[in-house]
């Protein structure tokens, strides 16, 4: 592993039971600390240097993680490793979302790339969610969304509600994974209907989910009024994800040039050139009317002050993107609703991939009665090539398939292919069996 900062340490802590680590870092003190706390082997030097990597025994490695704060260093280290140890799985941490895009387009020969900014943004969007939704989750870098809707008891029958599923006007880019009526689960066959008072689990593209939310919530349009304080990379990533979900987003950035740059990047957002510490400004722009305020500034202390001020002005829900691992507790103790640490989220994501590259993300529903898995299908699976309609009906629903890093939402005639990643909805008791079968 290259990088012994916060992310590195968290990963080390989680994985040292399964792997034998050698840590490379330029900072002597950090390494000394690691040796003291975990007793791992260390090499002092630059991870982008071939000699340093060789010194760390790269040739024998099965897993290579580069998680310094420098994107380019991480990528170069991974690319070097690809040559030095062709069999090792490589993981790079990046901040710049553009590298992520490049990786998704297969320009970078790295096994897994995580962007802290995007992870933070997805985490925020998971929390903020969608109107009428009880729970939401995002998969495949935001391409797939899972939402559990609660259909209001007084909902009027329409194009979807009260109709047979096969006849209803459901967006092609979404699938009903399950209907839950009076605590009982109903397998969503074409003949079933969604009725008022039901809970529905839907998997689909963000756009389709927005349509669903409009249908289920009735005429009640989503308000989704979010203010993002701080227009750094994280702030912009959050704004972008929320905008794509149809939220109204305002970004507050004090630096004039940066503010103009953001206004250029995100034409749909309203950019305000101001600081979040100014009560007059908060008053004038009626920030207190916003439903959620997200704080993604550079300093934790400033975030804390601005978040508290926003609370005072009446923002009901505040999310802080903090930098120091220790801050989380402080923030949540002092009335900020959620504190997220992008580094921790990133390390969790890396750990998940390192742990089992096939299963990337698991999400629980209905007090753990159901699970949603994100699994890569085994190369030699006998289900490959069969149309989905011929698979045995077990109540397990394949909600989405990610093929070549693009998500689509399969229908009965679609078939699984080698290398597919699937987003599956299943009952928790079958989860382990399912994972084995896939």
């Amino acid at each position: 592993m290259v990088g012994a900062g916060q992310v590195g340490t968290t990963i080390l802590e989680a994985l040292r039971g399964e792997h034998e680590f050698t840590v490379v870092d330029r900072d002597h003190e950090r390494l000394a600390e690691l040796v003291q706390n975990y007793g791992v082997a260390v090499v002092e030097g630059d991870g982008t240097s071939r000699h340093v990597l060789k010194e760390g025994g790269i040739e024998e490695a099965d897993l290579f993680i580069s998680c310094t704060s420098r994107d380019e260093a991480n990528l170069i280290a991974c690319l070097l490793t690809r040559r030095l140890a062709p069999n090792a799985k490589t993981i790079a941490r990046v901040s710049n979302e553009e590298y992520l895009e490049v990786w998704r387009d297969h320009f970078l020969d790295v096994d897994f790339v995580v962007s802290s900014e995007l992870e933070a943004a997805l985490a925020v969007s998971r929390i903020i969610g969608i109107p009428a939704a009880r729970q939401t989750d995002v998969f495949a870098d935001g391409q797939v969304q899972m939402v559990e809707f609660e259909v209001p008891r007084d909902a009027k029958p329409g194009a979807v509600i009260g109709r047979r599923l096969r006849e209803s006007a459901i967006s092609y880019d979404s699938r009903v994974a399950s209907i839950i009526r009076d605590g009982r689960r109903i397998v969503p066959r074409g003949s079933e209907r969604i009725e008022p008072g039901d809970r529905v689990v839907v998997i689909g593209s963000p756009k389709a989910i927005n349509l669903w939310s409009a249908i289920v919530a009735g005429g009640e349009q989503r308000t989704g009024d979010v203010v993002v304080f701080g227009g750094g990379r994280t702030g912009v990533a959050i704004a972008r994800v929320l905008l794509s979900q149809g939220c109204r987003v305002r970004i507050v950035e004090a630096d004039s040039r940066r503010a103009h740059r953001i206004a250029e990047l995100l034409p749909k957002a309203r950019v305000l050139e101001a600081t979040g510490m100014n009560p007059d400004f908060l008053d004038r722009e009626q920030i207190g009317r916003a439903e959620v305020a997200v704080f993604a500034m550079r300093e934790d202390a400033k975030i804390h002050y601005a978040a508290t001020l926003a609370k005072l002005h009446g923002v009901p829900f505040t999310i802080a993107i903090v930098h120091d691992a220790a801050s989380i507790e402080v923030f949540e103790k002092s009335g900020i609703d959620v504190a997220l640490n992008p580094r921790l989220i990133t390390s969790e994501e890396i750990v998940r991939f390192a742990h089992d590259p096939r299963t990337r993300q698991v999400s629980m529903l209905e007090r753990n009665r159901f699970e949603i898995l994100d699994v890569t299908v085994r190369e030699d699976n006998e289900l490959i090539g069969k149309p989905l309609s011929e698979l045995p009906v077990t109540g397990t629903v394949i909600g989405a398939i990610i093929r070549n890093d693009r998500a689509f939402f399969p229908h009965g005639h679609d078939r699984l292919q080698r290398g597919d990643r699937v987003i599956v909805f299943t009952e928790s008791e079958h989860a382990v069996k399912l994972e084995r079968e896939l």
Partner: protein, 510 residues
């Protein structure tokens, strides 16, 4: 010679920031080309057995002066951005002077120099302002020159708007295209050649298609008032948004079929020629169809047509299909600053003519052949006003102006505001001059026709109202008014700033 004197001499020689001699050299070349263009009407004169001398004499003078200027100033100074301003203005003036020669020399031409100069200036600025009420009485060759000068002016406009003005950053041109740093270094002549090769050829092609269509109308007896000469003449003044007609009373003589053909080519000439090139030559229609300015162009035309039709119906001038036809044709004719008319708009209700003046003050698309302010500028000013209002409510908001989703540079926005201010300032000044001059000459000129006449000149549209309307001419105006109108035509055609620059001290200083 003492050192002090030598110092003073050297310093005085460098006192000008503009190389006048390099400009004169370039002017000489332009003059040669314009003179050669006079060979065309001379040829027509030969065909109709008229005297070619009215064309050959200016041709010889122009060639001689041009050659002299080029010869004596060869290799003197560098032709840079600053010199281009001077060349543009001098070239248009010289061409207008040269072009006025045939009017004065031809039999049954014009007697007075101011008349000839204004007629020539109107032609070369593609304006439908004329002192000739009965063009049919002119010799054929002179009539051809009158039509052809508009086409030449149109070609000049293409070079001006596509090759020269963007380089001079005049009046917020090209605000949506990011500045290309390489352009500065690239040689001027190359830019001009590329523009002529692409858009000049498209212009020529459109003219040929228009001429063939008109000839077709003649051959198939769809319009019996149209002959081959008229067909050619109409094509030349339609595609250039000039608006001169070979017949008296503009297009009133011709049939409805001819009107619609004119309508189509006017509309094309008022569209962005760069996007038109991509659509017609490269087969990419999408950029043209998705262009917000083009859409607004259609919206303005339709709104104008509806407004005019309503005014005509209310004023009992026309009804039903006729009012729609008149409304649409006249709206597009004024919006593209062509200035053809199918009836006498002087007798129309005030509301209808007011709409026409309003449309002429907007103009066609940017990079088109039409004059006036252009829709893009109006669009950006509209967005600017909207932004100011939003900014009042949200003082901290960072608001950008976008056209076709692309950012508009703030400097371009400033340029556009100043352009619009000068434009309307000149309009007011023009009306004032016409009125003062009328008072001096003791004849009564209503403010509304004066506004219409000034708009006609400044927007390079036309015609005027009242005695200067479609059936009349600008002849009754005094020399002072005629020169003022000529100046307005030139200012409007060159987008004001290049001329205004010449009157600033900083332009002449190093």
């Amino acid at each position: 010679m003492t050192d002090t004197r030598r110092f003073k001499r050297v310093v005085r020689r460098r006192a000008l920031g503009v190389s006048v001699r390099a400009s004169l050299h370039a002017l000489g070349r332009v003059l040669e080309i314009v003179s050669l263009a006079l060979a065309a009407p001379a040829l027509v004169a030969a065909v109709y057995l008229e005297s070619p001398l009215p064309f050959l004499i200016p041709l010889a003078i122009g060639l001689a002066v041009g050659f002299l200027l080029e010869r004596t100033n060869r290799g003197k100074g560098r032709l840079g951005t600053r010199e281009v301003f001077l060349v543009i203005v001098l070239a248009w003036l010289a061409a207008a002077l040269l072009g006025s020669g045939p009017y004065l020399l031809a039999a049954h031409g014009l007697k007075h120099w101011a008349d000839a100069f204004m007629e020539s200036m109107a032609g070369l600025t593609t304006t439908n302002i004329s002192v000739i009420a009965e063009p049919g009485r002119l010799p054929r060759s002179l009539l051809f020159w009158r039509q052809f000068s508009q086409w030449l002016g149109g070609l000049g406009v293409i070079v001006l708007t596509l090759a020269l003005l963007p380089r001079l950053r005049v009046g917020g041109r090209e605000p949506t295209i990011a500045e290309q740093p390489g352009q500065e270094v690239e040689r001027l002549s190359r830019g001009v050649k590329v523009v002529i090769r692409r858009f000049g050829l498209l212009y020529l092609g459109l003219t040929i298609v228009a001429a063939v269509t008109f000839i077709g109308l003649d051959l198939f007896d769809i319009d019996d008032r149209l002959n081959v000469f008229d067909a050619l003449g109409l094509a030349l003044s339609t595609v250039s948004t000039g608006g001169f007609s070979p017949h008296a009373g503009s297009l009133a003589d011709f049939s409805i079929a001819t009107h619609w053909v004119v309508f189509v080519f006017m509309a094309l000439a008022g569209a962005n020629i760069v996007l038109l090139f991509r659509a017609l030559v490269r087969g990419e229609a999408r950029p043209l169809l998705r262009d917000s300015e083009t859409r607004l162009y259609v919206v303005f035309a339709v709104l104008g047509a509806v407004g005019i039709a309503a005014a005509l119906v209310a004023g009992d001038v026309a009804s039903g299909w006729r009012s729609i036809h008149e409304g649409l044709f006249q709206a597009v004719s004024f919006l593209t600053t062509t200035g053809f008319t199918t009836g006498n708009i002087s007798t129309w209700p005030l509301a209808a003519t007011a709409i026409l003046i309003g449309l002429a003050l907007i103009g066609g698309c940017v990079f088109s052949l039409s004059g006036s302010q252009k829709i893009l500028r109006v669009q950006i000013i509209g967005k600017l006003l909207h932004r100011e209002i939003t900014q009042t409510v949200h003082p901290e908001a960072v608001l950008h102006i976008r056209i076709n989703r692309r950012l508009v540079d703030e400097r371009a926005v400033r340029g556009i505001i100043s352009f619009a201010l000068i434009f309307f300032g000149l309009l007011a000044l023009g009306v004032l001059v016409l009125e003062l001059d009328a008072a001096r000459m003791n004849f009564h000129l209503n403010v509304f026709p004066a506004l219409a006449d000034t708009t006609a000149a400044l927007s390079n549209g036309g015609p005027g109202l009242g005695f200067a309307g479609p059936t009349g001419s600008f002849a009754p105006f005094s020399d002072v008014s005629k020169l003022a109108l000529s100046a307005l035509m030139l200012l409007g055609r060159l987008e004001i700033i290049p001329i205004a620059v010449l009157f600033s001290k900083s332009y002449w200083r190093p």
